[in-house]
């Protein structure tokens, strides 16, 4: 397949600005074009870097208080009842609007979190060295993480299942170190990310509309750890792997 004109639409695709049909066509193309796949990985890393470095200015608490006081209604000064009501309504609209933005922000945060995990999963699939510890033996893979990440976890017994452990690597997400474990089922790869619970604030998978990416995702929490499994396998396969992990805990 040719590189152009798809590359020109990559930004719009990653910005979520393509129509449903165009998104589907782009995803179909990405499955068969390694050049565009590599460009997509580079651009998602670029987006992640911009996002990470751009949120660096925090307001001074005293300034926050000053603004809050300045937008609070001052009933003593206003004699006109209607003007006062109007001002209170204006403040309410701004506060309610801002609250709705918080809810949307948390949802967006959840979407962004899963988007970043999907990026890492894609990068793993595209890499010629997808894992740093290569072993099908959980008793080799688990000890490899000791001292490299600030927590320990249990790996499931895979004997008798259709899953094979490929290996693992250290993953970083929003400045938090974690583990990425790679499994194989038939010809599909599954990444399971493990991070300390609440490392990402209140962003939850429940807020994530899975229809917007081409992967199945499962998340669960156990023993103070957040688990995220992501792959193009069926939901049933992912559920089966989740059960094996839960049994190991």
């Amino acid at each position: 397949m040719s590189f152009d004109p798809w590359t020109g639409r990559l930004d719009a695709y990653l910005d979520g600005e393509l129509s449903v049909e165009d998104t589907r066509a782009m995803e179909e193309h990405l499955r068969g074009c390694s050049a565009c796949g590599a460009a997509m990985v580079a651009r998602t890393q670029e987006k992640r870097a911009i996002r990470a470095v751009s949120q660096r200015y925090a307001p001074d608490p005293a300034f926050r208080t000053r603004i809050r006081e300045s937008i609070a209604p001052r009933p003593a000064r206003w004699k006109n009842f209607w003007a006062q009501g109007l001002a209170v309504a204006a403040m309410l609209i701004i506060v309610i609007g801002a609250s709705l933005i918080v809810v949307n922000r948390e949802r967006a945060n959840g979407r962004q979190l899963i988007g970043e995990l999907a990026d890492q999963h894609v990068a793993t699939l595209a890499s010629s060295n997808p894992v740093d510890v290569v072993s099908t033996d959980r008793h080799t893979v688990k000890p490899w993480f000791a001292g490299k990440i600030p927590f320990s976890f249990n790996l499931p017994e895979l004997q008798g299942s259709s899953f094979v452990l490929v290996g693992g690597r250290i993953a970083y997400l929003r400045q938090s170190p974690g583990a990425e474990l790679v499994f194989q089922v038939r010809q599909h790869r599954i990444s399971v990310f493990i991070f300390q619970e609440r490392a990402f604030g209140r962003a939850r998978i429940a807020d994530f509309n899975q229809g917007s990416i081409a992967f199945n995702v499962r998340s669960w929490t156990a023993n103070g750890l957040d688990y995220f499994a992501i792959s193009d396998v069926s939901g049933g396969d992912l559920n089966e792997l989740v059960k094996l992990f839960e049994a190991a805990d």
Partner: protein, 164 residues
């Protein structure tokens, strides 16, 4: 006031000065309260607030000085922006390059910086960015593309030189 933090961050990126950013945010809230009747129900409240902040910036001393008010807003008039030169469509950024990205953003002209921040950080749709900046969607797309290329050019230049 959750939007407050984001408006302040955006104001800092526009002005590159915390005191001026505080003035901008204060002015934004004052204008929003005073003119809230102009806010149309059902439209994007956040985009409305950002537009107020940006207009306040354009009328500020720094805004006038940075030349952010040159008539960029006519589609096809993007050539008034600095040329971005020959840049690959994508640059593979490692985590160690993040500091370069930050320095690169600092160096970008305001029209590039603001469109990138609105798209990448605020996750604003092209349509709402167009509303905030007062330009057609086509201009948002071309400006975004040029902004990304300009950032890549700056980062590549810094990658080639000694790292700070």
């Amino acid at each position: 006031m959750p939007l407050f933090d984001r408006l302040y961050n955006f104001a800092c990126w526009l002005t590159q000065d915390r005191n001026e950013a505080e003035d901008l945010v204060q002015e934004t809230y004052a204008k929003a309260l005073k003119g809230f009747s102009s806010f149309q129900q059902g439209t994007n409240f956040r985009a409305w607030m950002y537009r107020i902040l940006r207009n306040a910036f354009l009328n500020s001393r720094t805004g006038l000085k940075t030349g952010a008010t040159v008539p960029l807003d006519v589609e096809g008039n993007e050539d008034v922006l600095p040329p971005v030169g020959e840049t690959p469509e994508s640059v593979l950024l490692q985590r160690s390059d993040w500091e370069l990205v930050q320095q690169g953003l600092d160096q970008l002209p305001v029209p590039y910086r603001e469109v990138l921040l609105l798209c990448e950080v605020e996750e604003t749709s092209y349509r709402d960015i167009a509303g905030t900046l007062g330009v057609p969607i086509g201009t948002v797309m071309s400006r975004l593309s040029r902004a990304r290329q300009a950032l890549r050019t700056v980062v590549l230049k810094m990658q080639a030189g000694p790292k700070v």
